[in-house]
């Protein structure tokens, strides 16, 4: 029997998979035979929708991570081809080379001309190897910075798409200063004189994601994740066993819902029923509408005020009273000996003279 399904199912979607198969078999029968099965198909489809709704509204953190890594999930290139008019890709960091894992593109979203910076994972194996599986090298970050400076010069807003497991850990990357490249990006993006919107579309892994993710707005797709370390890495360190990633994913609070409730991201962009991979066009439409709306909002603000607001927003992380506290016990510590006054020679002479005068008066 031929398999009509092209969707790839995740481990927790067994029921949905069997239902889908049943429906497709019925559909095939409906076509080939003279019996009308459409009523039955309709009830089954309703059942399937309900099941999808149920599954996807109660995803565990680890299941969310699995959805965000789904092989059919829309990548940056999909957004690019469906959303951006007249794209012109810019290559090279003018220092070392061109990194295909980060793409910088001048284009138009809606009516707004923008610079788009996006991390590309690659769809097939050949592309994936070329892009290091979405792990950028330092030249990628430097390229992004150079093009963002260009956008600043010509007043173009910047939209960044984050989708990376992390910056590439390799010998070459360290030789060319991965840490320094990311650090410079963080500093420069915090004061870039143009609006910046960042969207996590899939995986948001640690410094690699943050390297192009500092700006006025940070939003996430519903089933994307954003974390300080990959769940596997965290499990390896704290549980001494990479297989405990499920527990680590839960502890790290990396889903969009939890990050929103902690106030660490601005917006959660809705995904179609059953995740972005079930309907790429709907996902892209939602993201496009979000970008157009937010850009309109940010363009109204004067740039100085925008920068001040951005700085305050960045500094507000871990600043609030719900996160940080002063210890009471340490308040009553004995005072440290005061630093002796440092006076110039002239001042010292004057002081001693004053003291002598006082003594004489006594």
């Amino acid at each position: 029997m031929t398999n009509y399904n092209t969707t790839q199912y995740l481990p927790f979607e067994d029921e949905i998979a069997s239902l889908d198969e049943h429906i497709s078999r019925l559909k095939a029968d409906n076509r080939s035979r003279a019996i009308d099965l459409s009523a039955e198909i309709r009830t089954l489809q309703a059942e399937q929708t309900a099941l999808l709704q149920k599954t996807y509204s109660t995803l565990t953190p680890w299941q969310t991570v699995q959805v965000s890594r789904h092989p059919k999930r829309p990548l940056f290139t999909d957004y690019l081809s469906l959303m951006v008019k007249e794209p012109r890709q810019l290559h090279g960091d003018r220092c070392f080379g061109d990194d295909p894992a980060i793409m910088t593109i001048l284009g138009q979203i809606g009516r707004q001309k923008v610079l788009i910076v996006g991390q590309n994972k690659g769809r097939d194996t050949k592309e994936k190897i070329k892009c290091n599986f979405g792990c950028p090298n330092p030249e990628g970050y430097r390229k992004a910075m150079a093009k963002m400076k260009l956008a600043e010069k010509f007043g173009l807003p910047v939209v960044t798409f984050i989708d990376t497991p992390g910056a590439y850990p390799g010998i070459g990357a360290e030789e060319r200063g991965q840490a320094q490249a990311i650090a410079v990006n963080l500093m420069e993006m915090s004061r870039l004189k143009t609006p910046i919107i960042s969207i996590v579309i899939g995986e948001g892994g640690s410094g690699g994601a943050l390297g192009i993710g500092v700006g006025d707005r940070l939003s996430m797709l519903e089933y994307a994740y954003y974390s300080v370390i990959s769940p596997e890495g965290c499990a390896g360190i704290l549980w001494h066993d990479g297989a405990q990633a499920e527990k680590a994913a839960k502890a790290l609070r990396l889903t969009s819902k939890e990050l929103k409730s902690l106030g660490l991201i601005d917006t959660v962009i809705k995904e179609p029923l059953g995740g972005a991979h079930r309907s790429i066009h709907d996902t892209v439409y939602n993201v496009e509408q979000y970008i157009i709306r937010t850009l309109r909002e940010l363009k109204r603000v004067k740039i100085d005020i925008l920068l001040e607001k951005r700085y305050r927003k960045i500094c507000a992380v871990g600043d609030s009273e719900t996160m940080i506290r002063r210890l009471k016990s340490k308040k009553d510590l004995p005072a440290k000996p005061a630093i002796p006054e440092r006076l110039s020679a002239k001042a010292q002479l004057e002081k001693t003279a004053q003291q002598e005068a006082l003594e004489k008066a006594k």
Binding site: P169, G177, A183, E188, V214, L238, L254, V317, M323
Partner: protein, 301 residues
């Protein structure tokens, strides 16, 4: 248990045929005929240099600024010791010593709560992963921030970020040079994305300092990796590294796991970074005070 008879002692006539129990030989550690391996010394007076295996008297090491007198290996030191070594005697005035994290994530791993974890570390070491304060170095007033490796691997959480930003603010306000000694494994994963946010926060603060024209000297000690090296540590106007310090973005173990080849000798060490142009100078710990003083004279206001 084997027993052996000891013949009658000559001097002591009262004791007769004492039976001495001999402890069983531990065959796993010693085969019986080769030179016996050196046992690890008890904590306290003596310590073995991890680089050259020399036995060193602790007081001499302390006097030598925790540098091995035999091979010049720079040992890791905790925050308070570093402050003591760096500043003029009695001039360190700590700020914000009483901050603590409230654990917004309620992080728990293997039954150990992060909240309890920081409590234990706090009691033992008496300070968070960073100490900030005003001090004098060779008579020059500075704003000093020193990372404390003893507290959860010196990892950067929200307390570190907050202390750092306040230190930068004060440095801008009083136009003091900012000296930061980094010694950290990276961002603190117990605080999740909040600690990731600290990378952006500290970098943005350095951006402000840069705009205000302040001097920022970043000192990298062993180890400076992960989120700390990818934020403020690499943004220094002048970057000084200690000899043979491990400095990099990803740890050597992570790189080895990812690319599955042996890493070259001296990879990610201070000398490697100097060669590739990411640090300005490598300075011996005993010259650190002198160098900082001189650099402030050249670049400070």
């Amino acid at each position: 248990m084997r027993t052996i008879k000891v013949s009658k002692p000559i001097n002591n006539k009262n004791k007769k045929n004492t039976v001495v129990k001999m402890p069983a030989k531990n065959k796993t550690s010693w085969d019986g005929y080769s030179i016996k391996p050196r046992k690890e010394m008890p904590d306290g007076l003596w310590l073995a240099c991890p680089a050259c295996q020399h036995m060193l008297y602790r007081k001499i090491v302390d006097k030598n600024l925790n540098v091995c007198p035999e091979c010049d290996a720079h040992f890791r030191i905790d925050g308070p010791t570093r402050v003591k070594q760096l500043v003029d005697v009695g001039s360190f005035e700590e700020i914000l010593a009483d901050l603590t994290s409230l654990d917004p994530l309620q992080f728990e791993a293997r039954g150990v709560k992060y909240k309890d974890r920081i409590k234990v570390d706090d009691d033992a070491k008496g300070c968070e992963a960073m100490l900030t304060g005003k001090a004098f170095i060779r008579g020059r007033g500075v704003m000093l921030a020193v990372m404390n490796f003893g507290f959860l691997g010196g990892s950067m959480g929200m307390v570190v970020g907050e202390k750092f930003c306040k230190a930068v603010d004060q440095a801008i306000e009083e136009s003091l040079p900012l000296i930061v000694v980094s010694c950290s494994g990276g961002a603190r994963m117990h605080e999740g994305v909040v600690s990731l946010g600290q990378m952006a926060k500290t970098s943005a603060a350095i951006g402000k300092l840069d705009e205000a024209g302040g001097l920022f000297i970043s000192i990298l000690s062993d180890p400076t990796t992960g989120g700390v090296s990818a934020s403020f540590a690499m943004l220094g106007d002048i970057i000084i590294a200690e000899p043979n310090a491990l400095i990099g973005f990803a740890g050597p173990r992570t790189i080895k796991q990812t690319i599955k080849i042996e890493l070259p000798e001296g990879f990610q060490r201070a000398e490697f970074l100097l060669e590739h142009g990411f640090v300005d100078m490598i300075t011996h710990r005993k010259d650190l005070r002198k160098e900082i003083g001189r650099l402030i004279d050249y670049c400070g206001k």
